[in-house]
């Protein structure tokens, strides 16, 4: 007996782009006429690859095209890809919210999808009533819910407020309640979409733990979509990378993540040409340089060496430079932050050269002490305070720097490879 519980074959989904409504009646008639004569749907022949940056050439677009994969029982499959790659569409098809245009999905056992927690909860009703309602929407029977009721309340941590209308709950508590119901579903296949992005860290830990438990002990299969590479790596056994509606990579989670990040790695593009930046653009960073202790421009330094980061900028519009905050961050190849240099906390006030409309900001790091690996630079700048809407110019993956191995701590003792920031310190006993 094969233990494949979910099989996706040639799955494609076509969407109409632009305004839906005008001309649909005439298209409907054409489509109906073609079907009546036993011909293929005339509109399924057209359509272009889903690339949102290109201008539309036809009215139809393939959100997903020829997706094939299989999941074995007990696997946790991560689905990663940038915004608009078709992740959510895939989940919608598998959870039967909308039907595919071509292809098929075959599954064994019940599928429960968690595209959102607390679906259908009514603010006027009490937590007790909502647990029953939400559970039933997810496909549980009343008896199942009654059996697990105490556990659900316990997991959500809201025993005190069971008979309080949910509208009096904080938003965090509502999410916990919703997730608690979902956590006690017993489907053979569980589909989860980035719901973990909400809730406090204690709850996130609980949620991830529960999902691990479900797959490892319950032998159930989980399909998990996330932007958060850390949780994908923690949770998933294998992963697929979607790009423009097609499967770009299938394999184990670790490899898939590095494939994805490599594809996303734009650090080889000159900073000035980057378009994926955020902020109001009053000032733009044009170039980033690393200088080693000999003041040479380099791409790699030895662990523990002093490094100067030079940020070239140009001014597009005058602003109050005394309110500017700059944060340079170092991230590892799994997008985990390793170190940050926040100028406001350093007490730095910048002098921006508004006369020449360009200049250089330097950051000197006396010892850049990371385990040997590639590290990525993220630049974020704000005006006033560090709220996202106050950004001036921010670029992720602005550049990367390679840390080379070195016997920093003791002569002849090389640092182990890995991705981690190290700090100087002395042991004694």
């Amino acid at each position: 007996m094969s233990d494949i519980v979910l099989s996706v074959e040639n799955l494609s989904k076509q969407y109409r782009i632009g305004e839906i409504g005008t001309g649909t009646l005439s298209n409907d008639i054409k489509r109906w006429w073609a079907q009546a004569r036993g011909k293929e749907d005339p509109f399924s022949l057209v359509g272009q690859v889903n690339d949102r940056t290109k201008k539309a050439e036809s009215d139809f677009v393939w959100a997903l095209r020829d997706i094939n994969f299989e999941i074995k029982q007990g696997d946790v499959l991560g689905v990663i890809g940038k915004n608009g790659a078709g992740k959510s569409t895939l989940l919608k098809l598998i959870s039967r919210i909308t039907a595919p245009t071509v292809g098929s999905i075959k599954a064994k056992g019940r599928i429960a999808s968690l595209l959102e927690v607390g679906t259908g909860m009514h603010p006027e009703m009490t937590a007790r009533e909502n647990i029953y309602l939400n559970g039933a929407i997810m496909g549980m029977t009343k008896r199942e819910i009654s059996r697990k009721f105490d556990e659900i309340v316990d997991f959500a941590g809201c025993a005190l407020y069971v008979d309080t209308p949910v509208k009096r709950y904080s938003s965090g508590m509502r999410v916990r309640l919703g997730f608690a119901v979902a956590a006690f579903l017993e489907p053979e296949i569980l589909i989860v979409d980035e719901v973990l992005a909400v809730g406090d860290s204690e709850f996130q830990k609980k949620a991830i733990g529960k999902m691990k438990e479900v797959s490892e002990e319950g032998g159930r299969t989980v399909l998990f979509v996330s932007h958060n590479m850390v949780s994908v790596r923690n949770l998933c056994t294998s992963a697929i990378v979607l790009n423009q509606g097609q499967v770009a990579y299938t394999g184990n989670a670790e490899n898939a993540i590095s494939y994805y990040l490599k594809a996303e790695d734009k650090s080889h593009i000159d900073l000035i040409d980057r378009t994926d930046r955020q902020g109001n653009g009053q000032l733009l960073f044009t170039k980033i340089e690393f200088l080693n202790s000999n003041k040479e421009i380099v791409k790699q330094v030895f662990a523990g060496e002093s490094v100067q980061v030079n940020l070239h900028y140009k001014v597009c519009e005058k602003f109050d430079a005394s309110k500017m905050i700059l944060v340079i961050q170092f991230l590892d190849n799994q997008e985990q932050m390793m170190a940050a240099f926040p100028s406001d906390e350093h007490g730095t006030v910048f002098n921006i050269d508004f006369e020449n409309k360009k200049g250089v900001i330097s950051l000197t790091i006396p010892q850049l002490l990371f385990r040997p690996n590639d590290y990525f630079i993220r630049i974020i700048s704000f005006l006033g305070d560090t709220r996202a809407e106050n950004q001036i110019d921010s670029v992720s993956n602005a550049d990367k720097i390679k840390i080379l191995n070195n016997d920093f701590f003791a002569p002849g003792r090389l640092i182990r490879n890995g991705n981690c920031a190290l700090l100087p310190g002395n042991y004694s006993s």
């Binding site: 494949i4 969407y15 009533e129």
Partner: protein
């Protein structure tokens, strides 16, 4: 080796893909939706379910004054409150079923976009919660009815066709649901229909013997009104309780066939729509 799958999702499925077993599996959800509908309407109100009575009483009073006293439309010698009330409550049930199911997709698009359950559960639950509201209003009607029976002055007599009341209700529910399903499916694409529904129900009421007895209508107009299946059901309902009106076998047979056709058409078109409506709504 042939594999056995529990679920196969494919683009184009059979024309009639009604999975009754699945709907039965979700019956708990249906009762919970009904409970939600009933419980939440009057939360944080002082009078609570009493409001279910207020609407038909006020409507009846207005009808008594406007149509009874001002326009002086005959009520077939039946006490005016009783005549109007009987019409109002059965009409309310139809319009409740129709109005509530006709916006299934538009009001639930958020929920439908996030989780799967047999979509038909939603309109079915509206029909059931409509029935509960009807029962409450029906008890009001019974009180008024008994008052006039005990009073003894009015010429009202119940008939054996009272036994058919559940059947009449079934027809009403079927018509309301069937039309509702058709309309909700069409409105996902063509929003124009939403405007039609608003006053369509109003107008339809005047084509149904609610504020006038069928006996008042003659000639060509009677032919037209006879085309309305609701007219036969309402007349039969009134006849059963009040002894006036028409209990026409052919009329009811026509209404039954009509209901079955509308209901099947509704389920068909609803089934087709539910699979992709998220993309068009």
């Amino acid at each position: 080796m042939k594999e056995k799958w529990d679920l196969i999702i494919k683009p184009q499925q059979k024309l009639l893909n009604l999975d009754l077993k699945e709907i039965w599996r979700y019956r708990d959800l249906l009762t919970l939706f009904v409970k939600r509908d009933i419980v939440t309407v009057y939360k944080q109100t002082v009078l609570g379910p009493v409001w279910f009575f207020v609407q038909p009483i006020m409507t009846m009073l207005v009808y008594v004054v406007v149509f009874g006293n001002v326009a002086e439309i005959s009520t077939d010698e039946i006490p005016k409150p009783l005549f109007y009330l009987s019409g109002i409550i059965i009409w309310n049930y139809f319009s409740e079923c129709f109005m509530q199911t006709s916006n299934t997709f538009s009001t639930n698009q958020d929920m439908f976009g996030k989780v799967y359950f047999p979509r038909l559960i939603m309109p079915l639950s509206k029909v059931v919660s409509g029935l509960i509201k009807f029962t409450i209003q029906f008890s009001l009607f019974l009180i008024v009815y008994l008052y006039f029976i005990i009073d003894g002055e009015a010429a009202i007599s119940a008939s054996l066709s009272l036994l058919l009341i559940p059947f009449f209700m079934l027809l009403m529910a079927g018509l309301g649901l069937g039309f509702g399903l058709i309309f909700t499916s069409m409105t996902t694409k063509y929003r124009d229909l939403q405007f039609l529904i608003q006053f369509g129900v109003q107008l339809l009421m005047y084509a149904t013997p609610i504020i006038y007895p069928m006996s008042l209508i003659e000639g060509k107009l009677k032919m037209v009104i006879s085309l309305n299946p609701l007219a036969h059901i309402v007349e039969a309902f009134k006849y059963s309780f009040l002894g006036r009106g028409e209990l026409s076998f052919y009329g009811l047979a026509y209404a039954t066939v009509f209901t079955i056709v509308v209901l099947i058409a509704g389920v068909l078109i609803f089934n087709r729509t539910e699979r992709n409506f998220v993309d068009t709504v």
